[in-house]
């Protein structure tokens, strides 16, 4: 996860960083992610989750991905239950506080079927930042004295060479691939993110490959009219996939809120019987539909319209 610096630069130099169109389908993008790859997942909790890409990876039968995300919601449950991942690095893992402790997370971690590797939220962020900076670690002043660090052999406690103060060092995290969902980008991958950016800028620059999904693909002229809004540069991006409602049933800032009815129904189904509930959900919503559009059909027009109404009115009413 913290490769040799020469190797890190080599992998970047090997990528085609030219200004070129890289639009492809979800299936084509999924083929860029190998089994056992380390995958950084953008967004946080219910926000800008790259759900369409995760959905495509599960459908493609990916196995044993090592996934890292700031905070993990029910997309982590789907990754565990489908076998796409058995190792998730995150600071917090459950669908959301209003739905209680995740039964799937509990089932998989308590029985040793999967691993939830817990780091503090800032530690996850600084690991991506160190990765983005091309340095092997960053110092921080939290996680010291707690049991979290005791369970993480990759951390180091040092005395600062300048002040003598104790500092916690966390290693860089340079995932093989980052999955990031954005409001808009052009065909080259110049990505504009509205609202909360979470850790996505660092994640994009840390990763060795970036797959963008986007609510819509816009012209390069539109990007150039507002270059200050571009948060991820095209040269860091390897694939662009247009996926409207690409975070649903989670939210995308300024465009739609979460589909709360769907998430409530999902949580109720899991509560009744975690194992069978999630299996049936995967069958119906992930493996069943023939396309992302058909998946959206299953979520339903009424719920998507309501999510859209709520999402667009938050900042513009």
């Amino acid at each position: 996860m913290t490769p040799d610096y020469a190797e890190l630069c080599h992998r970047t130099h090997e990528r085609d960083r030219s200004l070129r169109e890289k639009v492809m389908s979800l299936d084509e993008a999924a083929a860029l992610v190998a089994d056992n790859a380390s995958v950084g997942i953008g967004g946080s909790t219910l926000s800008r989750t790259p759900m369409a890409m995760i959905w495509a990876l599960i459908r493609a039968g990916r196995k044993d991905l090592f996934c890292a995300r700031s905070i993990t919601s029910n997309e982590g449950e789907l990754l565990f239950a489908s076998g796409a991942s058995r190792h998730l690095l995150t600071s917090w893992f459950s669908q959301g506080i209003v739905w209680g402790v995740s039964r799937i997370m509990r089932l998989y971690t308590e029985t040793g079927r999967a691993r939830f590797e817990e780091w503090s939220h800032m530690a996850v962020g600084l690991r991506f930042r160190a990765g983005a900076m091309g340095v092997p670690f960053l110092p921080m002043r939290s996680m010291m004295g707690s049991d979290i660090a005791h369970r993480l052999p990759e951390t180091r406690l040092i005395d600062c060479p300048f002040t003598g103060a104790k500092l916690m060092l966390v290693p860089a995290l340079n995932p093989d691939v980052a999955l990031i969902h954005v409001q808009r980008c052009d065909a080259y991958g110049n990505a504009q993110i509205d609202g909360l950016p979470f850790m996505d800028l660092d994640l994009a620059m840390a990763a060795n490959r970036v797959i963008l999904t986007t609510e819509r693909i816009v012209s390069n002229n539109k990007i150039r009219r507002a270059p200050d809004q571009t948060k991820i540069p095209f040269m860091a991006v390897d694939a662009v996939v247009e996926a409207p409602f690409g975070s649903a049933p989670h939210e995308c800032y300024g465009i739609y809120e979460p589909c709360f009815e769907h998430l409530d129904a999902y949580a109720a189904q899991i509560r009744r019987d975690p194992e069978e509930g999630v299996r049936a959900y995967l069958e119906r919503y992930v493996y069943g539909p023939k396309s992302w559009a058909e998946y959206l059909d299953l979520l339903g027009l009424r719920e998507l319209l309501d999510a859209r109404r709520r999402g667009t009115s938050i900042h513009d009413d």
Binding site: S91, W92, M143, G254
Partner: protein, 257 residues
């Protein structure tokens, strides 16, 4: 112990009592649930200049009644805020010393104010795997803390099964010696009373009782021997005005059921 009177729920009591601890002009880093609600309540009642930060990256939140966010990472948190930042950068504001109070809930706490939100039982073979720290460890490591939680014997234990978010670790100077030179537990607010930490031992100390609650009741519901402050205060029950404002904020009882 869950106290519910005809007047208010235990969660409402927690929200009102902890809101009263916040002062106008403070910069508060709030977690989701009661902390978010209590900070917003304080902002609407006596602390209009209270600045609320969320780990999702929000600076200067202004939560809308009836539209409470499901976590501190959704766009509802950002509505009418002063700024949005990356989540790493908003957490770094704690490390840089901009925050007066960190404010969170807790699943399990011990006599030194250490919080556990990771594992019940042996971490290698847990009885229950809990959701984890989120930003809790960072907040508790870097600033003064208020914790709001229900008072139950199984939650107030002599030693937490796992230190997710550090209080005073093993008491006395141990927090400082571990490298945590700032912050620490300030107050724990429960449905029975308000607790501080004795200056030298850093052991939890009852500083105020809610009206109608006895020290014996508190001790019975606590899994370790409590210190009792020499001058024990009795809190004023939540007022009509406070409860009305609170119910206006959370009409669906998302966080105050």
């Amino acid at each position: 112990m869950t106290t519910r009177t005809a007047d208010h729920t235990a969660s409402e009591l927690l929200a009102v009592m902890s809101a009263r601890l916040l002062r106008d002009g403070q910069v508060v880093f709030a977690g989701v649930g009661v902390p978010l609600l209590a900070a917003t309540l304080a902002q609407r009642l006596h602390a209009p200049g209270l600045t609320i930060l969320f780990e999702g990256g929000v600076v200067g939140a202004f939560i809308e009644p009836g539209k409470l966010p499901p976590s501190t990472n959704e766009q509802r948190c950002a509505r009418r805020a002063n700024m949005v930042l990356g989540s790493t950068d908003v957490l770094l504001l704690l490390q840089r010393g901009y925050i007066d109070i960190g404010f969170m809930g807790g699943a399990q706490i011990d006599q030194y104010g250490n919080l556990n939100s990771s594992f019940i039982g042996d971490p290698d073979h847990p009885v229950t795997r809990l959701p984890g720290t989120g930003g809790g460890n960072d907040i508790a490591s870097l600033t003064q803390m208020i914790v709001a939680m229900k008072h139950e014997k199984r939650r107030f234990v002599k030693r937490v099964d796992f230190v997710t978010s550090p209080g005073f670790l093993s008491g006395a100077e141990s927090r400082r010696e571990a490298g945590l030179t700032t912050g620490g537990m300030y107050r724990v607010v429960t449905d029975l009373g308000i607790f501080g930490f004795e200056e030298r031992s850093k052991r939890m100390q009852l500083v105020a009782l809610h009206s109608g609650i006895t020290t014996e009741q508190v001790q019975t519901n606590t899994g370790f021997e409590l210190l009792i402050a020499a001058e024990l205060a009795i809190t004023e029950p939540p007022s009509e005005k406070e409860l009305k404002a609170l119910r206006h904020l959370d009409p669906d009882r998302l966080y105050t059921a």
